[in-house]
Symmetry: C2
Subunit: 451 residues, 2 copies
């Protein structure tokens, strides 16, 4: 039986034990049978009451590893119920970057208290990582590099490694530095294995490799890892050329996942860390704000309609048909918006191709506008037998679809330039535009034609 | 200067060379200066005309690597303009899984032709991978495993490796098999380095490790890699226990990116592989279908409104206010829908917690419904000084918000059960429900109260 099947069997027996209240058994499964990552996933998939119960059954020595595997949202939840000493204990076995990650979720005063409980070397390392923003290469890096000098032979390297008895996880390269700790190149572990023992490091090291600046944004780091299929990459100080640490693919995968989730969740006004099982009160408070913002745009649309109350009073069919114009604009615009936001996230869009993109969207707006204007106009004529309304709704749809795709393209570009998150603000602004323009075009044309 | 800065400098000079028409220079940069991954990214970020020009300047021997780095959408585009022999040549230097990936984008007859040009060992390997669905572990795996027997010493292993002179990329473990090729365990490369040469493989190999079934879905594979921070994992035949191949993190990262993109893009009716720079005609045809589907739901909403034409004729304020009810429902519902779709994608939601989730959403619907009903009712009274309409819109908002969050929660669960993609079908169905219920509740209550 494979490991994976074992795990899911254990999870099932855990569920049964939980339901029957056999807590000793639950405790055993949590602390001995399951891996920390599985326990973390279990906590993330549990409603608050079970979550509380499970966390209390995890033994102190396992808390650190589980904690590190939890999402940001749940880390805060757990950290808030631990004392400073408990937090410090839980962190003893973790990598520098993971400790720094956790500390970033704590209030500043608690962070300082936890740091004072550490020995000075650990503290210095963690403070180095903490000195960079959380979403930068520096905040993502780990200081557990294994470095060698270029002029020694592989035999010496191997002797040195055997003395250490273990290498940090995800070590695919040793990092070659000179006596000033300046980064020179990498020595792939695999090359050590297949080369003769009397070769020197300099002879087989690679120097044409990608280094990461400590100040680089984490999404940029992720693009480099994705594009070049890296397992780890050295982080180097821009000015001094000194080796600062390294970034590993496991942390990059988290960035990729969060980054991709970010666009999806933000477009619905949710946080990418949003806890699926947050209590009703907590999640409804957050979502209420988003509804409030959308309510304002809805009232704005109503205000536009109210200008034309007189027209609607005369031709009530306008009230029946007006949501079609707004809705088609909303859909067309959000397609463009999504495409551009995704393109920005993968790094496809820059000043060299943006003009082509805008003119392409303009063409898409015109052609789809024409197509659906004809369809809607025919359907309207068939329904109301009124040629005037049919022509008016057709014209309104063309106008709104063109405006919608142009807004869907311009908004994210403009929002990014003024450093506002396009995924978060884009969809609300777009809906406002397509509703207002949709109602205004349709009812305005009607008012003009009928009076 | 770091490698990364070098690259972006080269890209800039490429842009300048392209604009000035210095094709010889462009050709040199494309084929010697840039890595295949960067060239692929450049092609993906180029409008069709430049893309064509660039592809023609890439030399035959580099085509394979560039091709492998392209998105599915662009792979098809390139493959369609190559002859069978060119395709076969381009594939000579690629990994089995990458070749299989490419072949899956070709018509079946072409695939067969390409396979006949290969030697029998390569063909057998590729056919093995092709025999699994593209989105399964088998379709994702590579057959370039380095295997060892448990009873040999590390010295023998090292001698064997030195004879090979190179290891496949992303090799963090050698795989230990018995004489029947059945998988026994892994021998981490790092352990070879830090252990004495006379140790046997059996003494230091790990046997409690995660294996992947060949039939597992690729999203499941991604979750395992993410959760356990793997670089590679062995793929094993469920029944025989035989080692089939291995999956590496670089391919898993692509699955994670595609999977996360899928939800975002599908909710706007787009394909996750959608080419950002597709020609206007191609992209507008695809998007037109989505607009057509949405038009049907819009006409359904109009049909509901038309039932109450008489009521609107009497109280025109209803036409002004009705979009608010529909829009609030749409927003509230899409928040729940997004949360559940994301939860499904990460594997957080199963039968054990779904009931809790539904009741939580019900509470969120009631509380946000009440809150915004009061706000909207007050705003309406302030605007129209009509207590009846204020009460009616408040009631309609409570009804629609509760229906919206319940639909947002039930729809993806139900769609997943009937094997329809929740991200694709969910948002259209949800809008239909929130529009229809919104208009019906508001206008229906009004009709009841006024007559």
């Amino acid at each position: 039986m494979s490991r994976g099947q074992h795990q899911s069997k254990k999870l099932k027996s855990l569920g049964a034990a939980l339901e029957s209240g056999a807590l000793a058994q639950v405790r055993r499964i949590l602390n001995s049978d399951l891996q920390a990552a599985d326990v973390a996933h279990l906590l993330e998939s549990s409603p608050p009451k079970e979550r509380n119960l499970l966390w209390n059954l995890i033994e102190d020595e396992n808390e650190g590893e589980v904690l590190h595997n939890l999402s940001d949202e749940l880390q805060s939840w757990v950290l808030n119920r631990m004392s400073v000493q408990e937090v410090a204990n839980a962190m003893t076995d973790l990598d520098t970057d993971d400790v720094a990650d956790l500390l970033q979720n704590l209030p500043n005063t608690v962070t300082q208290e936890v740091l004072t409980t550490m020995d000075s070397q650990d503290r210095a390392r963690i403070e180095a990582v903490l000195s960079y923003p959380e979403d930068s290469a520096g905040g993502l890096m780990n200081t557990d590099t294994v470095t060698v000098r270029p002029d020694i032979t592989l035999e010496v390297v191997l002797r040195y490694l055997r003395r250490h008895r273990s290498l940090p996880e995800m070590t695919d390269n040793l990092l070659v530095v000179n006596r000033h700790d300046e980064f020179i190149g990498i020595l792939p572990i695999n090359k050590i294995l297949v080369s003769d023992a009397d070769t020197t490091v300099r002879e087989i090291m690679s120097t044409d490799i990608i280094t990461i600046r400590a100040t680089m944004e984490d999404t940029g780091v992720a693009q480099i890892f994705e594009r070049h299929d890296l397992i780890s990459a050295p982080v180097v100080d821009e000015k001094s050329g000194k080796l600062l640490g390294r970034i590993t693919i496991d942390d990059v995968v988290d960035v990729i996942r969060e980054d991709a989730d970010h666009s999806l969740m933000s477009m619905a006004g949710l946080d990418e860390d949003e806890d699926t099982f947050a209590p009703a009160l907590k999640t409804s408070r957050r979502r209420a704000i988003w509804l409030g913002i959308n309510l304002m745009t809805a009232f704005l649309a109503s205000a536009v309609i109210s200008i034309f109350q007189g027209t609607i009073d005369q031709v009530v069919a306008l009230a029946v048909l007006m949501p079609i114009v707004a809705s088609m604009g909303g859909v067309a615009g959000s397609q463009t918006l999504t495409l551009i936001i995704r393109g920005q996230a993968i790094g496809h869009i820059d000043s060299s191709n943006v003009r082509w993109l805008l003119s392409r969207e303009f063409l898409v707006g015109i052609s789809n506008g024409l197509l659906w204007a004809i369809v809607v106009a025919c359907a309207t004529y068939f329904w109301f037998s009124d040629i005037k309304i049919s022509l008016i709704i057709g014209a309104a749809i063309i106008i709104n679809l063109i405006v919608a795709v142009m807004a869907g393209a311009f908004l994210p570009l403009w929002l990014k330039r003024i450093k506002v998150d396009p995924a978060l603000a884009g969809s609300v602004l777009l809906t406002t535009i397509t509703d207002v323009v949709g109602f205004f075009a349709f009812l305005g044309l009607a008012a003009g034609f009928y009076f």
